[in-house]
Symmetry: C3
Subunit: 327 residues, 3 copies
């Protein structure tokens, strides 16, 4: 495909497979759409994208294509990543960040907005505060819709970039022990990632205070796939066995203040806690962080969160190319 | 011109005519600038644009050109359409949506803002809440200014896409009976469209409650051109004879609430009312709609409002190319 | 380099000099980074940019490169200028204007935001209300950061376009007498320009009311370079000897109201005051203006403030190309 004008992915994953066909014209709404074959296809394509960016800065495979980036709530990180991804593929972007002030305040429905935007564009990225909105948009649109977060629902491109980062950092996912720490109750990021990891042969470790424990239904889902897991209240109990430590933000508003003050340091990753970790462990965070990882950890080569950000662009380039039939 | 690098419009309209010359460097401020020859030139050019988009996604005839999209009030639909139009011609856009927070709050005049922006750009699209502002901007600027709505003044590109849609849907405008329903008093969309239609051999039907009747001066203008017209209070009285039903939003704030509740259903287009219409009638709406056309009408092949949106992009591509001398 | 694919600058300034090398990968934070050689290199490059824009509209030397335009406070003029500059070089822009609503409100630090954005982009332009923020951003980022204004700190690209305009308008800077009028106390624009001018053989005239006099430390700095200067309270006292009159806005909020009413007309440039000026004097203003220069002066050929705006785009094109190694 891309580099040198032909398919040349690692593992032959970019040949004309069922996975490649699957993505053409496809909405990307949930991590539940992905199996190992599709993930591996996407990983290979994202690696191609990295090669293109490192070698040439950009490609022109989406020249003349238009992305409508429809954000009903702001998210600098996610929207910037999609804008950069589309730009680096040679396409254009209609950035729509002010929906709250505009047509919508005139009472327009989401399906009408989406059907209007697909008149102008080839693919729609949607961020919306309400669960299920991406599904509604996808039903209304003939063009592909990519869910960039629908409230406490899903944020599949985040989970995809997370698992791609584990693959890239460790060279594989099978056999790894992955710890998730922080707010495991409300963090949709962690839920989606846990679901994707369940497709692989991994061990999971959930580290959270009592009040922010991972929901029982997710535990059941993971267990039903035969994934060994443990819950812990302290990072110290598990850090030494981890290959990946995935840290999430504990949001002040989720806890009463005294509890927040108590837990915030308890779950903070410091140079000291890093000393107990494996030499090749990977620290990840979806960002923004507040105090969960001290800045002094940034220079540790195991700190992967900014590489994780960069991977987000490659994964989104891969998704855009794939759904537009240029994967 | 465009396709295959040469003029190849229907009816030979794209040859080097007076109409083509007219547009080069021209401000587009009002529908009053258009006669039949100019409209037909624009229709032919917009059709070329559709062909380009359908065939290749985009063109590069405006590569290196920059559009300043200056919106003093938000309008997702119109600004997105212009951004897409410029992008699909290979040009770039400076999107300026926050004028209210910025230079203007430091007290800058519209002429100064426009003269600054033309230092960076090749064409300016202006949306402004005040009548006459597009005229003021055009006087200040040496580069072409396109009026994208100046308060209750004009919104010529809307009227142009409307009449282009009638042409496209019915294959011609002469001989047609066109009904306009809803708020005919304040709806600038309807006023501009009625003016353009008066250039053709049409019959007009105005359907509105007493309090939202079409202004007498517009009736006089239409009548003076020899256009037969009727006013009605009920859609049922006229729907069966219409070739086009153009529906507009009745804005709650225009009516007292009890009257609003009364009329809103009365003017609502439903599958039932569509049964009384001609088999080839076209339903149009500038969108956003609230309740004037039920969603259940969307699947009726006569529902043209989303095709109308798409036509908006082609018409704006045609205008941008024409004023920049690439028509 | 650019035109005809080779270095062809005036004075040979575009040959592979130390100045050219200096800019590659360089942060642009302060006018203190510039000496005459670097300025002359930049002037030559900016002139090339003008030639490109006049002749072809744009270049493709930054095709595939991405600029992150990160504005923590709105500035239509500056952001539009950078967007246009990047577009006319063939590159793409991630416009980020809503930082206040977004990640930052989740508590993210400036270094984290910048490190995230450099994952997606090749160069970052930063506008921030706090002094020193550009320095902080530059320390965090590996990619070049261009300061587009950090509070009452620096706004180096403004000063560079100002001095480039003097060079362009008069054909040189040495030997000129430059007057600065208005708010000389708080106007960072004037301070930066005075510093740059001190690299040349000029005379300076500072015209301001007592309460808005130029700070003593700046006077000292200028004097220490051997630059002759005078302070005056009235424009009339100096206007006849000036080659350049640089006018700045007197901000209402800086003065009590009665004083404001008193001085605002006193420093207003009118057709009458222009009669006392040299026939080839140049009037400049960073814009936006309020009442400091009457609109009736705009048609005077000596009114250079809109040419100055246009020069801003060329200077920013030059900087972007230079720091990305394409100068």
């Amino acid at each position: 495909m891309l580099v040198n004008g032909r398919n040349c992915g690692r593992r032959g994953a970019l040949s004309n497979t069922a996975a490649q066909q699957y993505f053409v014209g496809q909405d990307i709404l949930s991590v539940r759409q992905f199996d190992r074959e599709r993930l591996e296809y996407l990983f290979a394509l994202a690696e191609e994208m990295r090669t293109i960016v490192k070698r040439e800065g950009s490609s022109s495979i989406l020249r003349g294509r238009v992305l409508a980036c429809l954000f009903y709530e702001p998210s600098t990180r996610t929207s910037s990543s999609f804008v950069a991804a589309m730009s680096r593929l040679g396409g254009s972007v209609i950035p729509i960040n002010e929906v709250r002030y505009s047509s919508v305040t005139k009472g327009e429905s989401l399906p009408d907005t989406v059907r209007t935007l697909e008149c102008y564009s080839d693919v729609i990225v949607l961020r919306h505060p309400e669960v299920g909105s991406a599904q509604i948009a996808a039903q209304a649109a003939r063009k592909p819709v990519i869910n960039a977060g629908d409230g406490i629902g899903e944020h599949p491109t985040q989970a995809l970039l997370d698992i791609f980062t584990i693959e890239e950092e460790l060279g594989g996912i099978d056999g790894m022990t992955i710890g998730m720490a922080g707010d495991l109750k409300f963090g949709r990021t962690v839920h989606s990632l846990a679901r994707l990891l369940s497709l692989f042969d991994v061990k999971l470790r959930f580290v959270a205070p009592q009040s922010l424990r991972i929901p029982p239904e997710l535990i059941e889902e993971v267990a039903s796939k035969g994934i060994p897991y443990l819950e812990a209240e302290s990072l110290q109990d598990v850090i030494s066995e981890l290959d990946v430590l995935y840290v999430t933000r504990v949001q002040k508003e989720r806890l009463d203040l005294s509890l927040y003050e108590q837990v915030k340091d308890f779950y903070s990753v410091t140079p000291e806690s890093m000393q107990q970790a494996k030499r090749r462990m990977v620290v990840m965070h979806p960002l923004p962080r507040v105090g969960e990882i001290q800045q002094s950890v940034d220079s540790d080569p195991r700190a992967a969160y900014f590489r994780q950000m960069e991977n987000g662009m490659y994964v989104r380039m891969a998704l855009l190319a794939a759904v537009l039939g240029k994967g």
